[in-house]
Amino acid sequence: MQTLTEIRDAGAVIWWRFFDWLAVVSWKKLLLVCLLTLVLAGIVNHPTPVLMLAVASFIIKVAAGGKRRAELTADEATKRAETEQLERTVVEARMEALQAQIEPHFLFNTLASIDQLIQTDPRRASQMQKSLIRYLRSALPQMREGMRATLGQQLNLSNAFLEIMAIRMEARLRSVVDVPEGLKSAVFPPMMLQTLVENAIKHGLEPKTTGGTLSIGAEVIDGQLAVHVADDGMGFAPKAEGGVGLANIRERLKAMYKDRAELIISVPPLGGTCATIKVPYEVVRDPAL
């Protein structure tokens, strides 16, 4: 009894294989195969059953082929969609890891400064602490989940950071932000502007005894949003190992925009460093605030 069931199952498998093949095979190929089998059947002198099978094949293909073919295409599409979804998740996970981290050194120094101001100038202490809260709100990774970042949000974050650094560095840091109001709703990837601002301070201005000016600007050129951070500090050290932040930005831009975005570092005529990020200009209709 068991052998019989097995034979029936095997038969079913072969039949469905044959059915799938019929459904997707081209008419030309089917005709060719039928002719060849007919010739072979003619040689062994049994053409009738093969002829009947051939006719049956044609009928089946006409009747059910279309539906079956659609099913198979749908299957394939689902599989492809699943792979794409998986790839997207992987890219997103990697991006998350690449996003700038909050530097503990910055955090502890700022807290120490607030502590000192509480003793000497409580109003400024409160002001600085509020800036820190604003900074943390947008810089902590779990706080920026699922948001489509805008240039405006990114500027708020960097402004909070710059307010803190201005209290700490005093006259050694001047900052100029010149971004047209209309560009603040433009899409801009999270934490990139902040990485450039931190770099300008850490490598450009903090190491310079007299400090200097940091400027942020944005414009749209040929459908590209160009955001730059410039400083007149120490200038770019050709042997500097650093560069992790910049490499991260490059990689994230590539993952998000392929070849439609870039990071350019240049040396302004009067020295220092200027970093520019160019991304396709796109406006968020309903910015999440």
């Binding site: 050194h105 120094n109 807290l111 400064s113 050709p238 500097a240 190992e241 490059r250 570092i265 240049s266």
Partner: protein, 257 residues
């Protein structure tokens, strides 16, 4: 006028608030200590220690010009050093076993009092040698805060009227042309004035190979090597249609394995 009983200290930190915080804490913990000056970088700290003939210097680790470690190296043996830092975990690890004291910002009054007590005892002795500690510190700091490597990682080159900074990982090859050396990337070309001869010394030999008197190629950018009609090896580079000839003296680079 100061007397023998009144030791002299210098406080160095690039942020005024942090200097004042430490000065306030020291005044509470050790009223006899004379704070003879405040420095905002390592160079100023050295000058003040020398001009004030200070016994003690409090050095923030991260400062412009000379950092705290470099300043300590310059002053070693002549003054008692206490390092000050807000966070540097690697530095704290280095201090834990050493004879040199450190303070974390903002310092707790009890901790400052302990440091002052230790300093009072140590003032009778010569300042502790710090060679090992300083070497360890600069190594640990070096690996984490933009240290300089032996080889360049970025090239400053002109594109038209602009000066661009190009990461070496973006460069396909350098090629000497007349007075300039052309820097080729997959998307643009730039020019530098430095001759290939000097450039090759600054590039990482694991990253770039010279294949001709006039040509240096990034190894990772090499797609394949073929031979031209004259029997010379020719390098094909990913992302550029240009073919680069290998001169005979560099043939060994592309020998079959």
């Amino acid at each position: 006028m100061r007397t023998q009983a009144q030791p002299v200290a210098i406080v160095a930190d690039d942020e005024r608030l942090m200097r004042e915080q430490l000065v306030d804490a020291l005044r509470d913990a050790w009223p006899e200590l004379v704070i003879a000056g405040q420095a905002s970088n390592g160079r100023e700290a050295i000058a003040l220690v020398q001009s004030q003939d200070a016994d003690i210097v409090f050095l923030d680790i991260r400062m412009p010009e000379l950092d705290g470690i470099e300043a300590a190296r310059a002053l070693a043996g002549s003054v008692h050093v206490v390092f000050v830092t807000a966070h540097d975990q690697f530095a704290i690890d280095a201090f834990r076993h050493g004879a040199v004291d450190y303070l974390l910002k903002p310092a707790e009054p009890e901790r400052v009092a302990l440091t002052c007590k230790r300093l009072r005892e140590r003032l009778q002795q010569k300042p502790a040698p710090m060679d090992d500690l300083l070497a360890e510190l600069s190594q640990r700091l070096g690996s984490s805060t933009g240290a300089r490597r032996e080889y360049i990682r970025w090239v400053q080159a002109s594109v038209g009227a602009n000066l661009r900074v190009i990461p070496t990982s973006d460069i396909l090859f350098f090629r000497a042309e007349d007075k300039y050396v052309r820097v080729q990337t997959p998307t643009f070309e730039a020019l530098i004035r430095k001759p290939i001869k000097e450039l090759i010394d600054e590039l990482d030999p694991d990253e770039f190979w010279q294949i001709h008197r006039a040509t240096v190629v990034r190894v990772d950018a090499v797609e394949q090597v073929s031979r031209n009609f004259r029997g010379h090896q020719v390098v094909h580079v990913k992302g550029s249609p240009e073919k680069l000839e290998v001169s005979r003296s560099f043939n060994h680079l592309f020998k079959q394995m």
